[in-house]
């Protein structure tokens, strides 16, 4: 016990009376020690208290989750005989008994309603939507759009989209050219889903770049959402925003919009190589034989990546008009060009396979091995 007292006395002495008399580095060291020790002790306590509170919150959440899930499960198993409004009126009082004045319960109920709504269709989904509206939860979603935090705005947009509050489409349009990329993308996706007339209006005013990731998400939303009025995307192929052109090229291909072909030919001269490559790829995928000549003419002045695209497109079109050209490419010094040309020849069906066997017999050892590679069905291109 005495030794503990003596250590305490020593430390008190060290940090009080003796401190001013130490050299500056020792004084600084002592202050750093004190600071670190206090921070360490506080962090230790904070971590422990945080864990305890987290566990308590989890228990509370589990309890209310059970109650809410039971209520929602009753809706799902309720018969289909009554009309939607009657079912809503039947369940509404039970939901109103929940202490919705407590924010975390309101939040939990909203989350569950949204989740259930996403997983059901038909009358159940209608009832869930009706309850959401009658409980005035939509007002909070709309209010979130006015928040200063982009996360809150996204939450609001997602709720509005999930519950199909189409009247809010115009309200969301303002965020489709936001500086914050995440918010911008959510708003664009929501606008496509909610807008009744001209859901792609945001593309006209898009100044910000639509990142590859956002293009990917938008493509999924546009192609998977039912009842969206699909416009002619060629309208935006001359946009000054390269990312808009890129997205529209993907959509042109997906919807096989043939009217876009002349504009895609113009894109063969686009300075952005990715756009040029995508336009050529589309021509191939759409098997636009009438553009073959343009492809052939452009070939010789292009970098390797574009040359590969041209060869692949000619292979996909497989009209047979350019078999000699493709054969000539099998003597290229570039391995990738040789391989692409042989694959393109293979795509020509029986005539292509005949040519491949001729090339095999007339060719060098390395080209033979590429022909064997191309003909091996187990190896995917």
């Amino acid at each position: 016990m005495n030794s503990i007292y003596s250590v305490v006395d020593y430390l008190r002495d060290l940090f009080t009376t003796r401190l001013p008399y130490f050299p500056s580095n020792i004084r600084s060291a002592l202050i750093i020690i004190l600071f670190c020790a206090i921070v360490f002790a506080e962090l230790y306590m904070y971590i422990a208290v945080r864990r305890i509170r987290q566990n308590a919150a989890k228990r509370k959440k589990d309890k209310w989750n059970d109650t809410i899930s039971n209520l929602l499960a009753n809706i799902i198993i309720y018969g289909d005989d009554d009309d939607t409004e009657t079912i809503i009126n039947h369940f509404l009082p039970q939901f109103k008994k929940l202490p919705l004045y407590r924010p975390f319960i309101k939040k939990m109920l909203t989350k569950e309603l949204l989740e259930y709504h996403a997983n059901f269709i038909g009358k159940t989904a209608d009832v869930l939507r009706g309850l959401y509206l009658r409980l005035n939860l939509h007002k909070e979603a709309i209010a979130k759009l006015k928040s200063n935090y982009w996360e809150k705005k996204i939450e609001g947009i997602r709720e509005i989209t999930q519950m199909n509050l189409r009247t809010e489409a115009e309200n969301i349009l303002q965020f489709t050219d936001e500086e914050n990329g995440q918010l911008r993308m959510e708003a664009q996706a929501a606008f496509v889903k909610l807008s009744d007339d001209n859901p792609f209006r945001f593309l006209d005013r898009a100044r910000e770049r639509i990142l590859d990731w956002h293009q990917l998400v938008l493509f999924e939303v546009i192609t998977k959402t039912k009842n969206v009025q699909i416009p002619l995307f060629s309208k935006w192929l001359s946009s000054k925003n390269d990312s808009v052109v890129m997205l529209c090229l993907k959509l042109v291909n997906h919807y096989q919009q043939w009217d876009a072909i002349p504009l895609m030919v113009l894109l063969f001269k686009h300075e952005n190589l990715k756009i040029r490559a995508r336009a050529i790829e589309n021509i191939g995928k759409m098997e636009a034989e009438m553009v073959e000549e343009n492809l052939f003419e452009m070939y010789f002045n292009q970098p390797i990546e574009i040359k590969l695209n041209v060869i692949e497109a000619l292979g996909r079109i497989s009209s047979g008009n350019y078999l000699d050209f493709l054969k000539s490419r099998t003597y290229s010094e570039n391995f990738k060009i040789r391989m692409a040309a042989l694959y393109a020849i293979k795509l020509h069906g029986p005539s292509g396979e005949d040519l491949l066997s001729k090339i095999y017999h007339d060719s060098t050892f390395q080209n033979r091995s590429i022909v064997e590679h191309v003909l091996d069905q187990r190896i995917k291109n």
């Binding site: 002592l30 962090l43 996360e151 770049r209 990142l211 990731w213 990917l216 998400v217 391995f335 187990r378």
Partner: protein
């Protein structure tokens, strides 16, 4: 004479103090940056629906390259686990690097492999190819097995790059346990950065004592043994704090060899992995960065803090010592190979901060620590030590170290909270208190040994014996 010692002691005390102060300041700065980066990542990604990448035909294609050397016992589970990853457009390329066991026979039998007539485009020079195999079973059409002469990990990865037919390459250790959504999370930075992303790294976690079944992680536990437990803390600190901060600064020099996703085009342009260093993972990143600078191209190297890869860490001091020895030699080799980067303004941040940081704080720090300790002992023997002052200086470093480790634990708690049991959490906090006095001196010793071995010409990889997850599988079953 005593005046000389007095000045020497003064110099030593001040030198240690100011060096420690600089190191501490840099750590505080990095901690602050990593907190900012982590918060920004979690904020940004809390609204991400990765299903979009999973189903999209426009997601970039990925080749998983996994070199295998004498992995007969676990290779089937590992390959099955890789084939079951959640992604749409990927292939798995296993490179059998001339194994002397039955790895190849086991693979051929289990997956119904047969040799195919593959035309190899040898863009990077490697040891001779023996054959490329594909499965007869369409269920394994994503799998390609490459059999080649032994040439080491770098050579095997280079062969994998030659065989790869995709845009991105995910280089992993075959015995790692990869999270199912790892590719999705690592691919995303390639799609949502304004600049070209040339590489992304995932956080590597310690899997010792975790429950593993069929190559998948079932539950996370704190390691039973103390050596891996120290490494848990060390990895959390290194990945969640250090690398996140460097990612924020776009100054990352190292992406762990256990798991890294690279832009194949750039990897090929720089000539692939370097065969002549044991720090091949770091060397590749440095070379890729240099290339981008030389070409005046804007780029980023990004870290994702999600726990994506679990690895078995060395559980004995001897094996860990060998690993650390190799890491030190690797660092020395990379610093030497790229010595012209040192404070070279032409390379911007890379030359002015990242490289000097590695030089002063990663390579030089253990040496200075050792020299300081050596001088201290000599002076103590000669009776020229002010014990009280020395104790205060040591205490300063000690308390700073435990504070830093506790902040790392807090980061873990506030982000991914992998250790859900309260007991695990407190054991982790306990490690923070013990690490500076038990584990840290050992790492300094191994670093010194690494330096000596490098200077005396040792080049070996250092055998890494793994216990494997077999025992745990039985326990779980």
């Amino acid at each position: 004479m005593s005046l000389y010692y007095f000045f020497f002691e003064e110099f030593l005390n001040n030198a240690i103090f100011y060096y420690a102060l600089i190191v501490m300041f840099s750590y505080i700065f990095l901690t602050f940056l990593s907190a900012v980066e982590m918060k920004s990542y979690l904020r940004k990604n809390s609204y991400v629906d990765y299903k979009a990448i999973l189903v999209s035909p426009h997601a970039p294609s990925v080749s998983i390259l996994a070199p295998a050397y004498n992995e007969e016992a676990s290779i089937i589970d590992n390959v099955r686990s890789l084939l079951s990853l959640h992604y749409s457009n990927f292939e798995v390329i296993i490179i059998n690097d001339g194994s002397s066991d039955n790895s190849m026979a086991v693979l051929i039998e289990h997956f119904g492999l047969e040799k195919v007539k593959f035309a190899l485009n040898e863009q990077i020079k490697t040891k001779p190819l023996r054959g490329i195999y594909k499965s007869k079973d369409p269920a394994f059409s994503r799998l390609t097995v490459v059999d080649k002469d032994n040439g080491g990990k770098s050579d095997a990865l280079n062969m994998g790059i030659n065989v790869s037919g995709k845009d991105l390459i995910l280089c992993i250790d075959v015995d790692c346990i990869v999270e199912q959504d790892a590719i999705l999370k690592m691919v995303k930075p390639f799609l949502d950065e304004g600049k070209r992303v040339i590489a992304t790294g995932g956080v590597v976690r310690i899997a010792n004592s975790c429950e593993v079944r069929d190559g998948r992680l079932i539950s996370v536990n704190m390691p039973d043994k103390i050596i891996p437990r120290f490494q848990v803390l060390e990895y959390i600190r290194a990945f969640l704090m250090g690398r996140m901060a460097w990612s924020r600064l776009n100054g990352l020099l190292l992406i762990s060899g256990a798991m890294g996703l690279f832009d194949k085009e750039i990897v090929i342009k720089v000539g692939g992995y370097n065969h002549n260093t044991v720090g091949e993972d770091m060397e590749l990143v440095v070379r890729m960065r240099r290339y981008m600078h030389d070409q005046d191209l804007r780029y980023r190297v990004v870290y994702t803090p999600d726990p994506l890869c679990w690895t078995e860490s060395p559980s004995s001091a001897t094996i860990l010592g060998r690993q650390r020895n190799r890491w030190t030699r690797g660092t020395m080799e990379v610093l030497w190979l790229h010595k012209d980067l040192f404070f070279n303004p032409r390379y911007g941040f890379l030359g002015l901060l990242s490289y000097p940081y590695w030089f002063f704080f990663e390579w030089l720090a253990p040496i200075l620590e050792f020299v300081g300790l050596f001088c201290f002992i000599i002076m103590a023997i000669m009776g020229y030590i002010n014990w009280e002052f020395s104790l205060i200086l040591f205490s300063m470093v000690y308390f700073f170290a435990i504070m830093l480790s506790t902040i790392a634990v807090l980061f873990e708690e506030m982000s991914y909270q992998q250790y859900t049991k309260g007991s695990d959490l407190f054991r982790l906090l306990g490690m923070a208190v013990l690490e500076p006095i038990i584990y840290h001196p050992l790492t300094v010793y191994w670093a010194i040994r690494g330096n000596i071995d490098k200077l005396t010409g040792k080049t070996s990889w250092g055998t890494m014996t793994r216990t494997g997850f077999k025992t745990k599988i039985k326990q779980a079953a």
